[in-house]
């Protein structure tokens, strides 16, 4: 049994994989969870690159306001016309890029990568299932995601350009901007919400119904728990945003006033609307989604990191049960913290106190998970391979992101920090060197299972150290800028509030603070360059990487490594049976330092 499971089973791959289906059914309209996972993965990585490119151009504009963008400027001027005349980014274009950077990164890159790609590919494998519970819905989920992505992408090229009112699309600003970009944004969001609805129903049903015999709840890998919780958040938190989207679409298209107050003036004139609406309603509905969304971004990342740390320390995760309960607690409490984004709306102190309290409470389970992962390292025989390096870097980076969030959760300190670069630095530490590092770790880690080849360790390390250093060069200075009072969403990078422009006025942004914009720009350029080894390594290794010597190259216990490489259609050669927990590493009395979940006792 054991030797059969671990010799390389490549022979089955080609006869099983296609089953005589044509190209379209195999790769475009496939119902195989692995193909859909890869579709999600490739599309999301493309959007990740697009979102980063937008930001690179914005960083140039902030460091050099009004100067033509090198290289990309002429292209922008040719494609987008007046908004980028002579290659200079106009404030309108800056607003568009800012709004779309956030939208693309959150809704089209990170969540589809973390849940769509990783969840689809790995959850059925890790629970020993042959596919998702609803393969056709799974396919539709990807198609809706792609449609939403196309609508968002096309909106750059319509007259007036893409949405300009931030990824938060606060009303009434978003409604009264007289272009169609916002309408495209809203329609795109409806597609994306439908996609995540279908995806999350699928993942939850699969985990409940298709676990292999013997795979009880407390034998599930932590990654599966993380996906389970994140899917529940997607399932229950997205509908209120859909409501908000529908109502704003009504405001845009049917000229209702859901979010438009009585007496609203636009451009100095009283708007021709019935009024009586509530701008605050938008913020409530939006953040009711968008705070749980933060945990959708972070929970799968914690799951990936947990798997990689367990494998590469060769010992069980410390506190597996408390991690599981913490993940569930995060899921529940994340629905009770949304208004900590709204302290500045003039809410009463009692309400603010409630949301401060829940916000402080939700940090407890987050810290429990992070501490468990940290303690898991204690006494392990750690293997420092590329996935492990990324996973290890995740811990302090996410720690910085989490801890700097506490002052934002307190209404007193938030009033000073709200809407400054401090906020940007905080949530980027959570998502960029946090979640994205975990996603990179996962790519290096599961690449051998997906392709049968390893990615280059050397170039993986170049990618890792370059990313780690430049991530911090980009985001660390933003804390200083934010504490100095530099506001976000300013197309000149704060130049109008600098001491250079405000002579004799105290409190202007000092030259030191302004000069940080240059460091950040070159940090961002460096970060971009550091991704080149990754991209080349990725595509090169698909064809020419070092072949793996067994189906289980990392000597891992979980079920996804007990399949042929790459897993064929239907995944397992024979239906697996689980006999033990997910992390039985270095168990005394066995001749090897790991015991796969499907190894019978004795």
């Amino acid at each position: 049994m054991e030797s059969a499971a671990h010799t390389l089973d490549r022979a089955h791959v080609h006869e099983d994989h296609h089953e005589g289906l044509g190209f379209l059914r195999s790769y475009v309209f496939s119902t195989d969870h692995k193909v859909i996972g890869l579709q999600y993965g490739f599309t999301a990585l493309c959007f990740l690159l697009l979102g980063f490119t937008l930001m690179l151009m914005m960083r140039w504009q902030m460091a050099h306001p009004g100067e033509a963008i090198p290289l990309a400027g002429p292209l922008l001027a040719a494609v987008l016309g007046d908004v980028a005349a002579k290659g200079v980014m106009s404030p309108d274009l800056y607003n568009s890029f800012g709004a779309m950077h956030g939208t693309i990164m959150v809704f089209l890159a990170i969540v589809p990568l973390a849940v769509g790609a990783y969840g689809n590919y790995l959850v059925p494998l890790q629970i020993g299932a042959n596919d998702m519970a609803f393969p056709k819905l799974n396919m539709m989920s990807y198609q809706f995601y792609l449609a939403g992505g196309i609508v968002m992408f096309v909106s750059f090229f319509i007259p007036g350009g893409a949405a300009q009112s931030g990824w938060t699309s606060y009303a009434p600003l978003a409604t009264v901007v007289p272009t169609s970009g916002q309408t495209f944004w809203l329609i795109g969001m409806v597609f994306l919400i439908t996609s995540s609805l279908l995806g999350s129903v699928n993942i939850i049903t699969t985990i409940i119904q298709l676990r292999a015999p013997g795979l009880t709840w407390m034998r599930l890998p932590f990654f599966v728990w993380a996906q389970f919780t994140a899917s529940f958040l997607l399932l229950l938190a997205f509908p209120p945003l859909e409501v908000a989207g529908i109502l704003q679409l009504m405001d845009k298209v049917a000229h209702t006033s859901f979010f438009l107050p009585t007496g609203l003036a636009v451009g100095g004139n009283l708007a021709n609307i019935s009024g009586g609406g509530s701008p605050l309603l938008w913020q409530h509905l939006f953040w009711f989604l968008a705070h749980p969304e933060v945990y959708v971004l972070i929970l799968p990342a914690l799951g990936i990191v947990a798997e990689i740390i367990a494998v590469n320390t060769r010992k069980p995760l410390w506190g597996y049960r408390s991690m599981v309960y913490s993940a569930l607690a995060i899921g529940f409490i994340s629905f009770l913290v949304w208004a900590h984004h709204m302290y500045l709306t003039g809410m009463g102190t009692r309400i603010a106190t409630f949301f401060q309290t829940t916000t402080m409470i939700i940090s407890i389970p987050s810290v429990i998970i992070l501490s468990s992962l940290l303690i898991s390292l204690w006494g392990g025989s750690i293997r420092f391979n590329t996935p492990m390096l990324f996973a290890l870097a995740f811990l302090p980076m996410f720690g910085i992101g989490g801890l700097t969030g506490l002052p934002l959760g307190m209404s007193l300190s938030d009033i000073h920090l709200h809407d400054t670069y401090y906020v940007i630095a905080h949530f980027h530490y959570v998502v960029a060197p946090g979640t994205i590092f975990a996603l990179f770790a996962g790519i290096y880690f599961w690449f051998p299972k997906i392709t049968g080849r390893r990615m280059s360790e050397y170039w993986g390390r170049v990618h890792f150290w370059g990313s780690l250093i430049f991530m911090n060069v980009v985001f660390m200075p933003m804390f200083a800028q934010g504490l100095a009072g530099m506001l976000r969403r300013m197309s000149d990078g704060g130049a109008n509030y600098s001491q250079a422009k405000l002579e004799g006025v105290t409190g202007g942004l000092s030259p030191a603070i302004m000069s940080l914009n240059h460091y950040i720009l070159w940090g961002a350029v460096g970060l971009g360059l550091a991704q080149i080894p990754f991209i080349i390594n990725f595509f090169h290794s698909i064809r020419w990487g070092e072949k793996v010597e067994s189906d289980n190259p990392w000597a891992s216990t979980t079920l996804e490594w007990q399949t042929p490489t790459p897993p064929p259609h239907g995944n397992f050669l024979r239906p697996p049976q689980a006999y033990r927990g997910p992390y039985e590493y270095s168990v005394p009395g066995y001749d090897k330092d790991y015991v796969p979940q499907n190894q019978p006792p004795g």
Binding site: A129, N130, D131, A133, F134, P135, L137, L197, S200, V201, N202, I204, T205, I208, Q209, L210, L235, L236, A237, F238, P239, P240, E242, V243, A244, I246, L247, M250, A254, H255, T256, S257, F258, T262, I273, S274, G275, G276, G277, S278, L280, L281, H284, L285, F288, H569, G570
Partner: protein, 254 residues
């Protein structure tokens, strides 16, 4: 490759896959309509004083529609029971009845929409307001069936007033607006909530029509699977009915 538990329930969870999926979907739907009802409450509570109307919708029509959906819930349940009892003709009968009831529901809803969209509030240059249904239009004048009021607030109570023939010369009109979603917040939330509910009714009808018509071929080959389909479509339908049970008092009776 067969996915397990598509027809028979999994022993330790006691349900088959599609049922779990439908309950999850309904949980999501609860959040969708929950968000809408919360929005309704917030908009109504925060509305400026003396702007929220009462009695603008017909209670008799709303009551009839409530009864229609309640009856259709019963007929859907009986259709599923007929499948369980392996009585295909009874299934056809009750499922057909559900479709008829739902069609009448949508017909009445459509009539109510039409009634609102042909209802005009006409502000005259002398400050008076004429309010009523458009009966006829000539090149120079409008004929409404309704009344004149002195100010806007008088319109907020929709019940117990005269319906007279009112003729207005077009030259005296300052502003004319029908009772479309943009008219005020009440009309906006009314059209949005009932419109979204109506789309759900329509979606349910499409599924039922498929199960009644072409989809019923499955009865001959896989009666258990077909019965499951009727069951989960019925679950969805009961949810749609339930939403209406909340919509009716919230929009019609308050």
């Amino acid at each position: 490759m067969d996915i397990p538990y598509t027809i028979q329930p999994r022993p330790d969870t006691g349900v088959y896959n599609a049922k779990v999926g439908m309950w999850l979907f309904l949980a999501s739907e609860v959040m969708l309509f929950g968000g809408l009802f919360s929005s309704y409450i917030l908009l109504r509570v925060a509305a400026p004083a003396n702007t929220w109307p009462h009695g603008w919708l017909s209670v008799p029509l709303g009551t009839v529609n409530t009864l229609l959906l309640a009856l259709s819930a019963i007929s859907t349940l009986l259709a599923w029971a007929a499948c369980k009892a392996r009585m295909f003709d009874r299934f056809k009968l009750f499922m057909g009845l559900t479709l008829v009831l739902a069609t009448v529901f949508l017909g009445i809803k459509g009539y109510e929409y039409h009634d609102k969209l042909t209802h005009y509030e006409v502000t005259l240059k002398d400050g008076r307001i004429a309010d009523g249904h458009l009966v006829a239009e000539t090149a120079t004048a409008l004929q409404l069936k309704g009344r004149f009021v002195k100010d806007h607030a008088e319109l907020l109570n929709g019940r117990g007033h005269a319906h007279e023939a009112v003729t207005i010369e077009k030259s005296r009109i300052q502003k004319i607006e029908n009772y479309a979603p943009r008219h005020n917040t009440f009309m906006a939330i009314y059209f949005t909530m009932t419109g979204l509910h109506g789309l759900h009714v329509l979606g349910g009808m499409v599924v039922f029509a498929y199960l009644w018509g072409p989809g019923s071929r499955m009865w001959k080959t896989q009666p258990d699977r077909f019965t499951n389909r009727v069951e989960i479509a019925g679950l969805f339908w009961h949810f749609v009915d339930l939403v209406w049970i909340f919509l009716f008092p919230v929009l019609y009776l308050t």
